[in-house]
């Protein structure tokens, strides 16, 4: 009997189902558009009856992320999901989680801001997601799905990376990826961790102090500045290790390309279409799609910059990722930004037009 299964699902639902199958222990969330399907799906699915997974609607985003902190402190696979305004509220908790080095998975279905903004898809939380977000020097591992399949695939991947590095993992999506329906292949059910596995594999977890070990303390507090600096140095070394091992990206038609688009998530889907349109017009265009936004695929972009004439960063923002593209490229070739804001999704012909006006003609 094959446990793999093909289903037609929304991205948010696929993420929720994949999380159950990834052996998640707990989900804690608060409703906000455009990601409420995650908790709705989980509540309807009654994962407690399937795997013992807990689902709880919290009183606020703040409470939800702190529930994640408590659950993660026990070595459990725990998660939350939200959208931009809610993510701002979660930043305090995420900073504590990063400081205490706890594993967890967070989904942000980005919507246009600032403020209450719009509920339409956007990529304007790139800075918040990749540069820290809350207070203090820290990084999240940031995965950027561009399909419903990746919404499903990234749930177990995110948990695995979170536990490998004892670090929160953010899945940066938006309402388009979350609410469109596509065919998705679901992985088979993984068992949840047993208490024995937790005590063995995550010996730092607060599961009750048994006589054979010292007490475990989960904290991000170091009143001695020298101890805090040592902790900062340790965290930074971990982030360098993550950069070395976990940078993920995809290249499409880059081999003979004279121009390159760099785009992630929804923008990458549109940019792929723009590549086809440009090639039909005789422009040798390729696409580099960052799959991890932290760590950012600096090296492959730098290498492409050695052999193309120009690079266009395509984002649904005022130009945030373009700063990282420019850091990768330096002054080797011209880097331009094209984006729409406020929840507007750019069309593929618009992207080609921007390429022509900003790079080819300009």
């Amino acid at each position: 009997m094959s446990m793999k299964e093909l289903r037609l699902m929304k991205g948010n639902e696929a993420f929720a189902e994949a999380a159950i199958r990834a052996g998640a222990d707990g989900y804690f969330g608060y409703p906000i558009t455009p990601q409420s399907e995650v908790m709705e799906y989980l509540m309807a699915e009654k994962p407690h009856e399937r795997t013992g997974m807990i689902v709880l609607q919290a009183e606020s985003e703040v409470a939800a992320i702190n529930m994640v902190y408590g659950g993660a402190s026990c070595g459990k696979r725990v998660m939350t999901s939200s959208s931009s305004p809610g993510m701002s509220l979660k930043q305090e908790g995420i900073s504590y989680i990063a400081g205490a080095e706890l594993p967890c998975v967070i989904l942000n279905a980005v919507r246009g801001g600032p403020g209450l903004g719009t509920i339409q898809p956007s990529q304007s939380d790139y800075f918040q997601s990749t540069k820290g977000g809350g207070h203090g020097d820290y990084r999240l591992i940031v995965l950027a799905p561009s399909s419903v399949q990746e919404m499903a695939d990234f749930a177990p991947l995110a948990f695995d990376l979170a536990f490998k590095y004892r670090n929160p993992v953010l899945i940066l999506s938006d309402g388009a990826i979350g609410q469109m329906m596509e065919k998705v292949e679901l992985q088979e059910q993984r068992p949840r961790f047993t208490e024995e596995e937790i005590r063995k594999n995550t010996p730092w977890a607060t599961m009750g102090k048994t006589p054979d070990r010292e007490r475990n303390i989960i904290t991000s507090l170091n009143l001695d500045s020298h101890v805090q600096e040592e902790h900062n140095i340790h965290l930074q070394a971990k982030y360098r290790e993550i950069e070395k091992n976990e940078t993920r990206w995809e290249t499409i038609q880059c081999d003979d390309a004279e121009y390159i688009l760099v785009a992630y998530g929804t923008s990458a889907r549109l940019s792929q279409k723009a590549v086809d349109i440009a090639r039909a017009k005789g422009i040798k265009l390729g696409l580099l799609r960052p799959i991890t936004l932290f760590p950012f695929p600096t090296q492959p972009i730098a290498e492409l910059a050695n052999r193309v004439k120009g690079i266009l960063s395509v984002e649904m923002s005022a130009g945030q990722m373009v700063e990282d593209v420019r850091l990768a490229v330096g002054d080797k070739v011209k880097v331009a930004h094209f984006g729409r804001m406020g929840g507007i999704i750019p069309s593929p012909p618009e992207i080609v037009e921007a390429l022509e006006s900003k790079l080819i003609g300009g």
Partner: protein, 258 residues
Amino acid sequence: MDTISKEDIRKPENIVYKRTELLTDKVMSYCPGCGHGTAHRIIMEVLEEMGIQDKTIGIAPVGCSVLAYEFMNIDMQQAAHGRAPALATAVKRLNPDKFVFTYQGDGDLAAIGTAETIHACNRGENIVIIFINNGIYGMTGGQMAPTTLEGMKSSTSPYGRDIKSMGNPIKMTELVAQLPGTIYVTRQAVHTPANVRKAKKAVRKAFENQKLNKGLSFVEIVSNCNSGWKMTPNQANQWMVDNMFPFYPLGDIKVNED
């Protein structure tokens, strides 16, 4: 009558009282005269007497007791300011066989953490909340707390708390007693041996409730802050009796035996 040697006194069968092993040797960071140390001790004694220390997870707040995990020899988590009930909710839901308690001050529980407190109580999480109310922000240097009494001076109410401009002191314990999720709500103190015994009985009852899956037990301990109140320990205790207890009367507020 035979004299008893020191060696005899030290024999285990002759020991009538000793410090619980669930307190570490770390010198407490609390000011001399502060009630926190006594509150820590009775909680740890209860865990030890119930034999549940290897199944208990404590949540420390932000405030004077932020370092509670340095003194309590059990697994502990340190929460962001006010968020301890949210952590405890998840810890208990994910580990129904464990014992979970939060230890929070008035600023933590009754100001910045009001939402987490009310909703954990309202959901009836099967946890114990210990609430130390000394009417002041001790750790940050004696600022006005949500529970600071009318007219009481603090560094941010230097002329005394003015109700009209600064609002009323909040009775969180009476407030959470209204919620159907709380099973046992009580207010205690630890300034006299008699009160310590009563407070310990209340803490014991709270953990017994958790053992029986009864719901949320909420134990307020009205305490002093002699440094923040700018008094000697004795003066502070007397001031507490004369001023805090009339507004925050001691005793059980809700005992649901079902």
